[in-house]
């Protein structure tokens, strides 16, 4: 549906987007994830034709957004970071203008306006001046505008920023609903939001693609458990001597707990975590000491996110090989 090919955007010496490539398939909700300044807005602006790329191109259903802007833009509805609203107008007038500019006229226009007003639930404020509306309603009017002309892809740039918790929930619901009939791409720097709403995550940092996958798979692939936490009644030295012979273990941290128990955090670089825990179990069984608790620790997507966006040099080399260009 949308293919972004080797996109690069430089502002003077600063490279905001660096050789970014990915594909958007129809019928999914994509979460565009990255910290502030990662190049999310820049990428979205280029995808919608608001900004030119220094190099690379964006194809919307085969139409280059810069070579054939008209057919390409008809397929996209875009809500920029700051909703582009004319404060002196009412949502009704505003939608009429956008609809006409998208080439919809007459009965078709009034029908579509009615439909998007219903979808975004702005019926009661449709004749009020936009300047008097709350931020949540303004965001909805912005989304309504993007829906006009029945575009196949809806692109929303940080649609939940600056809203109160109730409004955030409402907008998330709306995005989920839109996802049933459109391909939706929305950006956010809040991971939990992306995790709950979308079925594909595009993660970028420093203008580069970090990962593109389903949230579940992403977690499985990038966050396979590598830490085992255990509680035992053995002493610190004994526990050390039991664990050190297992060569898959890279480090052991022990900590004395109340009641004379010992907690040990074991790290491993082995992919097969169960084989490591089996060895630990057997070692303790042979020694006669009890393993009272043993759990596999999973890093959260949040931690991965921080790690990925924190040090680009390390993560690039680590992740780039792993991430296939979908």
């Amino acid at each position: 549906m949308i293919s972004v090919e080797h996109l690069t955007k430089c502002y003077g010496d600063f490279t905001a987007v660096d050789d970014l490539s990915f594909e958007i398939d129809e019928g999914h909700v994509y979460g565009f994830l990255g910290p502030n300044g990662a190049g999310k807005s820049t990428t979205m602006n280029i995808m919608t034709g608001c900004l030119s790329a220094t190099s690379g191109r964006v194809l919307i259903d085969g139409h280059d957004i810069f070579e054939e802007p008209r057919p390409a833009k008809k397929l996209i509805g875009y809500l920029p970071e700051q909703p582009p609203l004319y404060m002196g107008e009412s949502p009704m007038e505003y939608l009429q203008f956008v609809g006409q500019a998208k080439g919809i006229t007459g009965k078709e226009l009034s029908e579509q306006i009615e439909q998007v007003i219903e979808q975004t639930k702005i019926y009661e404020v449709r004749n009020q001046r936009i300047a008097t509306l709350s931020k949540g309603f303004r965001q909805r009017v912005g989304i309504a505008q993007a829906l006009l002309g029945k575009p196949r892809v809806i692109i929303l740039d940080e649609p939940t920023v600056g809203l109160d918790p109730i409004q955030i929930i409402e907008i998330r619901e709306l995005i989920k609903e839109l996802g049933r009939s459109h391909t939706v791409i929305f950006s956010s720097h809040i991971l939990s939001e992306v995790q709950t709403i979308c079925d594909e995550i595009i993660m970028i940092a420093h203008g580069r693609l970090m990962a593109l996958d389903e949230p579940g798979k992403l977690e499985k692939r990038l966050l396979s458990p590598s830490e085992i936490s255990l509680v035992t009644d053995a002493g610190a030295e004994q526990a050390q001597s039991l664990l050190t012979p297992i060569k898959e273990i890279t480090s052991v941290n022990t900590e004395l707990m109340d009641g004379g128990y010992l907690r040990a955090e074991v790290k491993t670089d082995n992919g097969d975590i169960y084989s490591v825990s089996r060895k630990i179990f057997n070692a303790f069984k042979d020694s006669g000491k009890a393993l009272l608790e043993m759990s596999l620790k999973k890093a959260s997507l949040e931690e991965l996110f921080i790690e990925l966006s924190g040090n680009p040099a390390e993560s690039e080399t680590a992740e780039e090989k792993e991430v296939p260009e979908k």
């Binding site: 034709g49 608001c50 998208k102």
Partner: protein, 287 residues
């Protein structure tokens, strides 16, 4: 284009802009016709217009200052970029809306000669020829205003620069009498102008090579001209100032000549500045 036109008209007629523009134009032309046609009992309506065109200095920048600057300020220009309409359509729609706002009071003004002809002997062809030229003059000043508004996101700045530019244009013929007409004077002034233009090009395009080559080529051309024929430089600066005056062309019509070159001149100015506005809007996409 139609959508932009309708939208702009709605904005103008909802805000005060269109009414203030119309009221000032009508008041000033009305004042002129009272002074000339009624009190002094002159039967030439065109003199009223030549008096009235001074008001453009104030009302055109006030009308045009928001046209693009405001879109930028409120970030609504992003909407225009993302809609399936071209930048040319946006500028044309906006310009046509401005012309409509301008034509409305002008329609009322064009009734005056007919009305006066009931009470005296008025030569209607010159009156209407002048009204037509008055329309073209205003239309080209509006095109200049649109371009100035496209350069900034600050409306006040756009208005200030607009007033300065139009005022300078209004007085450029009178000023040209005071500038040096010697070859050396012209040479120095033109060199300064070339440097200023190169600086503006460098600022607008952020392209050093373009600005430097523009500067060097023009200076070289000037040097060659100076070497080949020094006399050609004499009086060049005042001539350029006169040629650039939009108002000077209008006075030709007032004097009773329907000057086709003037019409072509105005239309070229309009096309040129609208083209520049489109480029200025396009340029925003590139940085």
């Amino acid at each position: 284009m139609i959508a932009v036109l309708k939208h702009e008209l709605r904005i103008y007629f909802r805000s005060l802009a269109a009414y203030v523009f119309g009221a000032f134009l009508l008041a000033f032309v009305g004042l002129g016709s009272m002074l000339y046609n009624l009190q002094a009992a002159v039967s030439n309506f065109e003199y009223v217009l030549s008096f009235g065109c001074l008001i453009f200095v104030v009302i055109v920048p006030i009308l045009t200052m928001r046209v693009i600057a405001e879109e930028r300020k409120l970030k609504t220009d992003q909407l225009l970029y993302s809609l399936p309409i071209s930048t040319t359509e946006v500028i044309l729609g906006k310009y046509l809306a401005l012309l409509a706002v301008y034509l409305l009071p002008l329609c009322i003004i064009s009734l005056y000669p007919l009305y006066f002809s009931q009470f005296g002997d008025i030569y209607l062809p010159t009156s209407y020829g002048s009204i037509f030229a008055f329309f073209l003059l205003g239309a080209s000043l509006i095109a200049v205003g649109v371009f100035i508004s496209s350069l900034t996101d600050n409306q006040g700045f756009a208005a200030g620069i607009g007033i300065a530019v139009i005022l300078f244009n209004y007085y450029s013929v009178s000023l040209s009498e005071y500038v040096s007409s010697s070859a050396l004077g012209s040479l120095v002034a033109i060199c300064v102008l070339v440097f200023a233009l190169a600086l503006i090009i460098r600022y607008v395009t952020k392209n050093d090579t373009l600005a430097y080559s523009f500067c060097i080529i023009l200076l070289a051309a000037l040097a060659i001209l100076c070497w080949v024929d020094t006399e050609a430089l004499e009086g060049l600066l005042p001539d350029i100032m006169t040629a650039l005056s939009l108002f000077e062309r209008f006075y030709v019509f007032v004097n009773g000549i329907f000057d086709m070159t003037g019409v072509v001149y105005y239309i070229s100015v309009i096309v040129f500045f609208l083209f520049l506005s489109v480029q200025s809007l396009e340029k925003r996409r590139y940085n």
